[in-house]
Symmetry: C2
Subunit: 415 residues, 2 copies
């Protein structure tokens, strides 16, 4: 039996015990896990040092090494994350609907855990703690398959979390870390119907696409964000510049950052040169369409593929459009249904944009950077869903649950 | 370009127009479609006669021919189904949540259509009308890929619905019937990410499993029902017999009918002989475990595979169990997460059963036959979901929608 099947079986078998735990007991466990992370911080930093050493040998980039690195402060943040999850309302057991039928049947729709969640992700070890905490709070067992770069850190985190659970007499099997980090172990998880109820990939576009294209287990697609900001003719120039700059440079590496700026042709005539200068002052490389280049000549032309590229970097495509319709068509052709923004003082245009753009979050006069569980007030999230089935946008605790119907009768039969 | 891609593209392009239609306009169209079906009933019956003739030639069973056959009464029922859908509340545009953030952002969570729904199904032509109506009301374009047996009927239905839509100046492209009924056309739909947002298979277990195992488009798994009734020691014998008989014989061919009866050992000692006689009187073939055979000898022994078989017929497995725990373990091992029932006067056992059984609908003292959109009071349904992602149990109109977040700002940027 492979490691993946063995551990998925352990998770599956332990899941019902976890599903039945009270909120108080789950919160107690989350705090205990947080305590254990702090207590074992030195050994976790040691394990992480081994990952970092191997990473340097294998030539990981400075930015990847930075994302991989753990120190006391980062471990404190991981522990604090678990305590925040403990503080959130428990969705499990919530009564979503309750009614009686004319024949006397009483029907209640109640939130229940999904069961076993599989997470396939890349380097950052904080995802291990985060995902384990979110799944635990929602009564779901979790099978975590991280990348090879963080293997020693992830193994150590699993051991720490298991110790915390065992100390409370709780089933440690509900958190499983897969240690085989070859492609085969991920591929095996994709087909584990009957063991894993839902897969959530977290990472770059190629990781996510591999899961979406090959999984037979239901998947929640997250994270790919080719987000646009459209500046309409009537936009307030100061507001437009603030929103566009914020969407690009406040944190370019994340999925809700802007990749392409669309500008109304009349607005472009008046403002594009100034706008381009502001982006350059913020170290953003610009790539323009032919009309953009005509207005701001010293710029690289955008290649066809650039419009479909998620840079996650200080690079921005700029396109001049004839108006709202062309902006909507561009977003429909190149967007990833994540977050899209219009800056306009024209309410009719704003309403059309909010109605017609097919994306998880559609903004009028605000930065796309707000698509985030904390910014929406939902608290911690497992990712931003870009699909339309099950959940869309920030996926917090309720989005990690399903429901069932409980029906109480007194002998009713169907005639 | 293949027929499937061509028609899916037409559906995709027409979907935004449909999504923007008012409720009144959609209801008007549904009534117009119903009128058109009645008006064109003779030509539809002719087309159906061609299907029936081919079915007889190719040796379709009498029961399949019956399911395929259309007559005036059945066409009236199809039209009436569309009118019922017109009468249901429109979920699209419903505000699910609305709140402001401390920074002044106003966030509204609004129901929207899923986009393009693909339905892969078998013989019955009423599914074509039904699915088209449900998808239309929820603002979704639909790509319908029925079986070869009903091809002429389905083509004629599509033509009738298109005529009705065109007469109102509405985009007929939102209803597409695929005419290639070979395996390749179904397989092509399974991989049509970017064109089709969700696939819903309707039909037998092998059709559904093919879709689940091979689709890369998100799937809602429906219909497979290996449902159990567990009669506990304390059950009221008259109620238990009524519920068990109803669950099996009121309509054996459907997914919420019972396939296996589990009986507490003490109850079996007292009542199993009488219960078996009642099932036999209703023409049900019984297949028992060894303990069942010891109590009611003249019975075929159940083979291992019988416990995992959805008969949809007058056949019932019977197993004597030591008590609730063994019943729960059996259901966990052999159930399909559809509908499960306990008959008991012991409230503690009822609560445990309702909490611990992982299924869409869990019953105490009522027949599993009630798992149905109409019986729940939801109205028409597209199927019974047996998965946990997105929707579980009867899938009515709201379950054919997604949502998006509309965010109204006044220049907010993230710091």
């Amino acid at each position: 039996m492979s490691e993946v099947i063995q551990k998925a079986t352990l998770a599956r078998n332990a899941a019902p015990q976890l599903a039945a735990l009270s909120t108080g007991r789950k919160n107690e466990a989350l705090h205990r896990m947080a305590d254990a992370l702090l207590q074992h911080a030195p050994s976790l930093i040691d394990a992480n040092a081994a990952d970092l050493a191997r990473g340097r040998e294998t030539g990981l980039s400075v930015s990847l090494l930075d994302r991989l690195a753990l120190n006391e402060k980062r471990i404190e943040a991981m522990a604090e994350g678990l305590r925040l999850i403990a503080g959130l309302p428990d969705p499990v057991g919530e009564s979503l609907q309750s009614f009686s039928r004319p024949n006397g049947l009483r029907i209640e729709k109640v939130r229940v855990p999904l069961g076993v969640i599989g997470i396939i992700y890349e380097a950052r070890p904080n995802v291990t703690v985060d995902a384990a905490g979110l799944c635990f709070k929602t009564g779901n067992a979790v099978v975590l398959r991280g990348g090879s770069a963080a293997l020693e850190s992830n193994k150590r985190i699993a051991a720490i979390l298991h110790e915390a659970l065992q100390a409370l007499g709780l089933p440690a099997d509900v958190v499983q870390v897969i240690e085989s980090t070859d492609r085969a172990s991920a591929d095996e998880m994709l087909k584990l119907n009957g063991y894993i109820d839902v897969l959530i990939p977290r990472g770059g576009a190629s990781l996510i696409q591999n899961v979406v294209k090959n999984a037979t287990v239901p998947v929640i697609e997250t994270g790919a964000g080719i987000c646009h900001t459209y500046i309409d003719d009537s936009a307030n120039p100061e507001m437009a510049q603030n929103i566009a700059l914020n969407a690009k440079v406040q944190r370019p590496s994340v999925c809700n950052a802007m990749e392409t700026l669309l500008v109304h042709e009349a607005y472009a005539e008046r403002e594009l040169a100034r706008l381009a200068a502001a982006f350059r002052a913020a170290n953003v490389e610009l790539r323009g369409c032919s009309r953009t280049l005509a207005l701001v000549p010293d710029m690289k032309p955008a290649a066809d593929s650039d419009w479909d590229t998620e840079y996650n970097d200080y690079i921005l495509n700029v396109r001049v459009v004839a108006g709202l319709d062309e902006a909507l068509a561009h977003i429909s052709a190149h967007g990833t249904k994540h977050s899209e923004c219009i800056v306009t003082e024209n309410d009719e245009h704003a309403v059309r944009f909010l109605n017609e753009v097919d994306a998880a979050a559609v903004y009028h006069n605000a930065s796309t950077r707000f698509t985030d569980g904390f910014e929406f007030g939902f608290g911690a999230e497992i990712g931003i869903s870009t699909q339309k089935l099950h959940a869309r946008g920030p996926m917090g605790l309720p989005e990690l649950t399903s429901y069932k119907y409980k029906i109480a009768g007194s002998g009713q039969i169907r005639s």
